[in-house]
Symmetry: C2
DNA sequence: CCAAAAGTGTTGAATTTACACCCATGA
DNA sequence: TCATGGGTGTAAATTCAACACTTTTGG
């Protein structure tokens, strides 16, 4: 906060910066991994409403042997960070996400007992049908996002942050579509918002908001079968970006 | 997008995840670095208005020898990512930031010719007085943020993204204070917003907005010396968080 | 006095929010 | 027919945006 003497001249500066893109002895000792927080909306036990859930894997080695942890793994030399996250997610849980975004790089010195690990963490959204197909076994299990056990490493903190990002982004972005199929009713879309944000939303106002945003396009199909007026099916408007990540649309 | 067969069972999953926090042969070949995009508001050439500027360092080695690049360097084994960014920033430019936040991890396979480098990039804000003291030499120079030369690596992309984050965050956060001193007038605060967002702001509405937000506290001092009515000095309200980073306030 | 920026008031537009009410279907 | 959600209308409340006007200093 308070300014003190600075004595490093410009020349030593550029010497340092030249090392920036070559591994030093120090950074070689730091290992790099990728992990992913995966969210899906799944029916509650009482099946009355959907709730946010995420899959965790059980650790079979020390440290934290037996504890639940985020799925993750190493980064291969020939793949980008997002590719590593996507590949690892399929390998560990069998899930294919409809949305994948980098969350944060966690690198505190003591976050992994014994060695030094920097984890690039991604977060992903998968559709409900996709989540239903996912294998669940002794070593992979779905947990309610708001009520997790004590996880390995700093993974509770990571999930908290991912949850915050999801909820924040839900309010100004269109990621809700990532939970749904090709076409959907406005009720389904609204229920996604309600489940994530954990508060009721006025259907009338929600409809106008969505229609005004140009994010969705009405199809000419209605969904029959319910014992009420058949709702119109909508489609995601592909000409509008899903989320605004600024100049970072590609990787 | 379309679902295909998934055959990986849960058991191989947890085997993978157990490697997540130990270095594999692959990830050991990836080197890790930290870089920082540093912003300051500095007087224009004609001194009529302030504009966003950032310091770059000249590379003295291949690849990209002679090109301008973001200050950066390796991460030491015993320091956190933010500590590495802060230390490196002082070493290369002599600047002490009032604000430092992680921006993004860049890790495309081909971003550094020859070797594989993952860069954890931070962005920082420094006060104008601080920026004025910074040494400028052959190998460190300030550039207008909106008009940069071709930089080394993917650094143009990185700066674009940092600029977008700064401008986005300026609209819903209180980071403007990070450019100013302990006390400031509402005009000074408004001029920060105008310089960053590159558009004029109505002084009357801006005043009400700020006063209503509880982000600033009026002191009992006025700033005399101008040839007009002396403006009141304000102070940043420390009981309100500078920015909302969710559960990530510490590291 | 005048110029210039500080600070206050006011008004209309746009947006948000709450809620009444009609519509179309299955049972 | 009734129950149920689909869908439209509307009005109050709040926020936003533009700009007129008064205040206080230095020159």
């Amino acid at each position: 906060m308070t300014a003190t003497a600075r004595t490093v001249p410009a020349d030593s500066a550029s010497a340092d910066s030249s090392r920036a893109d070559a591994a030093s002895a120090d950074s070689a000792r730091i290992s790099l991994a990728v992990s992913t927080v995966i969210f899906a909306l799944r029916a509650d036990a009482d099946a009355t409403a959907a709730s946010l859930r995420l899959p965790l894997v059980r650790r079979i080695r020390e440290p934290f042997k037996g504890r639940w942890a985020l799925p993750g793994g190493p980064i291969e030399a020939a793949e980008s960070l997002s590719a590593a996250a996507g590949r690892n997610l399929v390998e560990t849980t069998g899930l294919r996400p409809t949305y994948l975004e980098q969350l944060y790089a966690f690198g505190d010195v003591d976050r992994s007992p014994g060695d030094r690990v920097v984890s690039i963490v991604y977060w992903a959204l998968v559709r409900s049908e996709e989540a239903d197909l996912a294998a669940e076994g002794d070593n992979v299990r779905w947990f309610p996002a708001d009520d997790l056990p004590d996880l390995a490493f700093d993974h509770n903190t990571i999930v908290d942050y991912a949850l915050w990002r999801l909820r924040t982004k839900m309010e100004y972005s269109r990621i809700a579509h990532a939970f749904l199929g090709e076409t959907f009713t406005l009720s389904e879309l609204r229920e996604v918002h309600e489940a994530v944000l954990r508060r009721p939303i006025d259907p009338a106002n929600f409809r106008r908001q969505m229609e005004g945003s140009k994010a969705i396009i009405a199809t000419d199909q209605l969904l029959t079968g319910g014992r009420h007026r058949p709702p119109r099916l909508y489609r995601y408007n592909a000409s509008v970006e899903l989320t605004d990540n600024g100049p970072l649309t590609s990787s």
